[in-house]
């Protein structure tokens, strides 16, 4: 990781959560939101990789991502 690179877009995450929830966001929530998002991405990519492997594709295709998105979202529903 390049030293100047942002580790994660803190302000953006805050704004996104604020926009969707219409609530204020306290201090460390954005980190945990980003953590949750990272976990979500991990799960999503894992499922998509499995799906695209089953379909015999080389990389992860958009189709497999779309296929597993709903399930993964449901998994991360509170």
């Amino acid at each position: 990781m390049a030293p100047g690179q942002k580790l994660y877009p803190r302000a953006t995450v805050r704004k996104i959560v604020k926009a969707h929830s219409k609530c204020n966001v306290s201090k460390n929530v954005d980190v945990m939101v980003f953590l949750d998002y990272v976990l979500f991405m991990q799960s999503l990519m894992k499922e998509a990789a499995i799906d695209s492997k089953q379909a015999g594709e080389r990389g992860v295709s958009a189709k497999s991502i779309k296929k597993v998105t709903a399930d993964t979202l449901a998994k991360f529903k509170g």
């Binding site: 942002k6 580790l7 959560v17 609530c23 204020n24 529903k77």
Partner: protein, 396 residues
């Protein structure tokens, strides 16, 4: 019937041994055991009775596959009947013979519907007399004929459906009578009829608001449709004015509405107009990443593509896809998933915070959310990693 034969077993030790002599006795001297049965059956001559007994035997052999199943235990275990039978054996001694007081015909009826009750009946009969037991079994087969009566009773529902048709007609008749009353009472079913009574221009005016109305008008439409049927021209003018006024705020739509005229618009229904309107901002957002509007009307940017792409490549690698690159299509799909995820997350967090009576999303909400999701111990490393990320980011 197979179940009956099998369920009689616990009360008779040595089942097959007990069954065979009975059957032999039946075929050997039919006179003693089968008097009443022959009286019912109408098999007058001994030959007829013997023939009937042979037929009966064949039939029981046909309808009791449990006899063969008994021999090979493996087959028995494979079928779901086995636990059912075990259950019946468990229930048989404990359950009270409620229906034992009922008449034999009732017991026959119960045999067809309720196997447990049938078992009770049969065990009861078996206790009474072995000859009665022998007589009972032909009666069980007689139920096949009694089932005809059941079939006749089952023919009644079609008659009920015929009655329903009749009621449907009876509903339709008043509907005509209402429509022939003085106009001005619109109903959804009679719109076509109403149009016969009124001027043809009204149909066009009925279509016009639908054509030119803006998405904001959409919820109003159903309410407007009622007066519109019996409407006068002044109403039409009002409607037109409203539409024009409402179109003006949407500056984008004005040029479109004016130039093609009403004939162009009917294909694009109001729904498509709505989708156009709503798609305006997301389309812009897709061109320039950023600027979306949440359902609360707050603008926001989605996560930067670089971050998403970096995460996606990392996790694709760990998921075993090697160093496969993320194609733009895939990235779009992932971004879509990201947006949905953020929306869902925001909703959940809001729900938790509201439930706690706060207006601020707290760490506890996030912890609750992650607990309910069930963040697993395997992702501990990731948690540490991300927390480190956060602390360094906040320190920076």
């Amino acid at each position: 019937m197979a179940s009956n034969a099998d369920r009689a077993l616990p009360s008779t030790p040595g089942a097959a041994a007990a069954k065979t002599p009975n059957r032999r006795a039946r075929s050997a001297d039919p006179n003693s055991a089968r008097q009443s049965a022959s009286a019912r059956r109408g098999g007058a001559t001994p030959h007829g009775r013997a023939a009937f007994a042979a037929l009966q035997k064949r039939r029981t052999a046909l309808f009791t596959p449990g006899k063969e199943r008994r021999r090979s235990i493996r087959d028995q275990r494979e079928t779901p009947r086995d636990p059912l039978r075990a259950l019946s054996r468990l229930l048989a001694p404990s359950s009270q013979a409620i229906h034992s007081s009922s008449s034999p015909s009732d017991s026959g009826a119960n045999n067809s519907s309720l196997p447990v009750v049938a078992e009770e009946d049969e065990s009861h009969n078996f206790d009474d007399d072995s000859d009665d037991f022998m007589i009972e079994r032909p009666r069980l087969s007689l139920n096949l004929r009694e089932d005809d009566d059941d079939e006749y009773s089952e023919l009644k529902p079609p008659r009920l459906s015929g009655l329903e048709d009749y009621t449907a007609q009876s509903i339709e008749l008043p509907r005509r009578a209402i429509s022939e009353l003085p106009p001005g009472r619109p109903s959804l079913g009679s719109v076509g009829r109403e149009s016969d009574y009124h001027d043809p221009p009204e149909e066009s005016t009925f279509a016009m608001p639908a054509v030119e109305s803006s998405p904001a008008r959409e919820p109003m439409f159903l309410e407007d449709s009622e007066p519109m049927v019996g409407m006068e021209d002044g109403m039409d003018m009002d409607m037109g004015d409203e539409n024009e006024n409402e179109n003006e705020p949407f500056g984008l739509m004005d040029s479109d509405n004016d130039s093609p005229g009403p004939d162009h618009r009917p294909e694009d229904t109001m729904l498509s107009l709505i989708t156009d309107q709503r798609a305006q901002s997301p389309q812009n957002a897709r061109k320039k990443p950023g600027k979306k509007i949440s359902k609360h009307g707050i603008e926001y940017k989605s996560l930067p593509q670089g971050v998403v792409k970096r995460l996606a490549t990392t996790f694709a690698k760990t998921a075993g896809m090697g160093k496969a690159k993320i194609s733009p299509d895939t990235l779009d799909a992932i971004m879509q998933a990201t947006d949905w995820f953020m929306e869902q997350l925001g909703d959940d967090l809001q729900a938790y915070a509201k439930h706690a009576g706060r207006k601020t999303i707290d760490e506890s909400d996030m912890i609750t959310l992650m607990r309910s999701i069930g963040v697993q111990a395997t992702s501990n490393k990731l948690v540490h990693y991300t927390i480190r990320l956060g602390t360094t980011a906040s320190a920076a």
